[in-house]
Symmetry: C2
Subunit: 182 residues, 2 copies
């Protein structure tokens, strides 16, 4: 029934996000699937980045980053920003993405993404191949048409998820939370 | 176009996993969405748990846990194990789930889940409302029918993802990784 396999990081589905860093003049974008929520009070998230990545040193210096959640229409851009290096090209320009000023930090978000999480770096935790950047969410921006009664209806956003080297949209609703109480 | 909202942990879609802890005689299961991959070498993952949770103290003591990835057929069980407390009930028995011995640790996995990640606790990092449990994956178990050429075809597993208080399956493939190179 079951087989044993070598230890590997086979956790899925996971988010595919575009992380922006830098400032309005000079910025970069990197695509990351190794991200998640750590804590609610304060609201903490993380992104894990290899030290060889161009964004690594920018975030280390500016102590800020934006987690931009891409939707289905941005799958090419998401792939592009995870494939090319910011050492060689200006990804905002090449991918035709627009820098959008943030409210609480100097790093620009990506205008085309429906949701942007502005983060202030709290800690860098080296783990081996990657360093974990722990960030506190200091502001959330969302497209107006996703907001219902002051809250984001995130299921409407067609966000991208990463599953076995492929990009998916989670579009099959199977149950509400609390189904076991009914 | 965009509106500012209060800081909140609105990162999605994220995995919905069942974390088992304890031993073959006495075990518990808790459902967690705050989990993710941290590092590849060594393979590190985390789960964030509130200290008030029953599983918190079990994992702290045994220094082991299993991340069990549930599929669509287990959505009721996933919801149940995230709603009830192990202080009051034996969740394996009540949810009719089966303890499956692990290879590298004493904690049982959940047999019905198609994939199980056996984890040894490396560190507990208190963050405020939650503590982050960092675990090293020491073995992976997967159902035979998911394995193709020695690798898991994870897209075949119909794993559950959590999106805005609802359970989804990511079943709409939108692109392969590397689409920008074509």
């Amino acid at each position: 029934m079951k087989e044993y396999l070598q230890p590997s990081t086979i956790l899925a589905p996971i988010p595919a996000v575009m992380v922006s860093c830098g400032n309005m003049e000079q910025a970069n974008i990197t695509t990351i699937a190794w991200t998640g929520v750590l804590n609610s009070e304060p609201p903490l998230v993380y992104v894990s980045i290899r030290p060889a990545r161009y964004s690594y040193h920018i975030i280390k210096e500016t102590k800020e980053f934006v987690i931009n959640l891409p939707d289905e229409a941005l799958v090419w851009h998401t792939d592009f920003c995870g494939t090319k290096s910011g050492k060689e090209i200006d990804k905002f320009r090449e991918a035709k993405l627009t820098k959008e000023p943030c409210k609480q930090i100097k790093t620009p978000g990506i205008k085309e993404c429906p949701i942007n999480l502005e983060c202030k770096l709290k800690e860098i935790k080296p783990l081996g191949s990657h360093d974990m950047f722990i960030g506190e969410i200091v502001n959330v921006n969302a497209k107006s048409d996703l907001i219902e009664n002051g809250k984001i209806n995130i299921a409407k956003a067609n966000l991208i998820t990463y599953l076995g080297n492929q990009y998916y949209v989670a579009n099959k609703k199977i149950a509400e939370r609390g189904i076991c109480l009914k």
